[in-house]
């Protein structure tokens, strides 16, 4: 099963195994991971599932709507590492991924 490792701003980490198709945002909500909100339900509309991608395989390119939402995140965007968690899907986009959760989402 693909795994997602979440790193909190305080350095603590939690890894969860997820089924294919599960987004980084959904897995965070299902597993009680602090700091990911997902207010719009996963449609790249709210930028409240912002994450910094850590050690990672190659991810698919950032679509235009995600690009624009990333310009407006509550915590500063890292041009090399910022993504919206709702747009990263286990299986198709990664087998294992580590994401860092920013200090603020709203």
């Amino acid at each position: 099963m693909p795994t997602i490792t979440y790193r909190q701003p305080d350095g603590s980490t939690l890894s969860v195994a997820v089924s294919d198709g599960t987004s980084v945002m959904r897995a965070a909500l299902e597993n009680d991971i602090r700091g990911i909100i997902g207010e719009c339900g996963g449609q790249a509309m709210c930028a409240t599932c912002h994450v910094y991608v850590g050690s990672t395989p190659e991810l698919p390119p950032i679509a235009e709507e995600e690009q624009e939402m990333l310009e407006c995140t509550a915590a500063p965007r890292d041009p090399a590492r910022s993504r919206l968690g709702c747009q990263l899907k286990a299986g198709s986009d990664f087998e294992a991924i580590e994401v860092e959760i920013p200090a603020r989402q709203v």
């Binding site: 009680d32 997902g38 339900g41 449609q43």
Partner: protein, 385 residues
Amino acid sequence: MTLDETVACIGAGHAGVQLAESLRTEGFAGRIVLIDEQEHLPYSRPPLSKEFMTGTEMAPLPLKGASWYAAHDVTLHTGTRATSIDRERRRVHLEDGSALGWNHLVLAQGARARTLDVPGSTLAGIHTLRTLNDAKGLRAPLARSNRVVVVGAGFIGLEFACAARATGLDVTVVDPAGRALARSVSSVTAAALVSRLEAAGTHFSFETSVLAFQGEDHVRRVLTSNGDLDADLVVIGIGVVPRDELAHEAGLEVDGGIVVDSALLTSDPNITAVGDLAVSSSTGARTECVQNAADQARYVAQRIVGKTAEQYAHVPRFWSHLGPNRLQIVGTWTGSDNSELAGNPDGAFSIRHYRGSSLIAVESVNQPREHMQARKALESRLSVA
């Protein structure tokens, strides 16, 4: 605030769950009980009329994982209907005969889909779309239907029309109004969206009322003021009715929703109402959106723990996703006296609405950057006001 205090909330939707989370975040140490008649783990509504409908996600998106409730000492009474509110003794009575005492009661039951009462409206194949069960109940019919009639060109109607059209069905949207999204967006934005949906093959019939549905057991035809339409699936999306019956029976002030003051208190100072069912005593309006439900819940949590004495103030935001068209709205455009179009109505554009020289709302289609900038501008003005 003491350990033996109880906050009870009727309704475990976006507002109820946010209230529980914010109460814990704000340091509330007492009991928190969420009561909801739906049997499911509380779930996110926006995906239901969109990607959930076309079946790429099999499970609803939970608002919190199942473990969250125990981990934060939040009691979840799902599958239980609250039957009455005893304001004097501060109790909620539940349908299983039990009663729950509270110090603060929050009403967050939301709204139910409005139904259409015309001949034939109880035939099989006629659905509304509001809850998870509604959405689940529409998936199989969607897969075996050919002709779909959507009654109502509001957000739910258009979102469902897009989902149905995306699976290749023949879709017609009828609405008695002269245009789509009459209560939600300006006419320029509505016209731009409708022409895109038409280009993708959805038919529209405006100024058209549904007179009756026909069929033996299952709907086969829709009789309208503008001719008849064949249909094997009908979705009614004609707005919602606030679920204010319990409040009304308890003697709270109700007028098109539960009337709340600027602190979201009802006519009983121990009872708060938030989300879709709350109507502002100053504007007479309800605000139906996820962000309002969540923002109101965050505010009420702060108020309950004594961290704010201010009035509730916010800038409403809405969004919808119609195929490749991403509509985002911030502010309230209805009071505008002049508007300005930026961009191309055939492509990406925004409409900025002003009252005099001050910006009051921005509608954006496929311009999230414009939307977010407008949001920051309008919200920063709120914080200095």
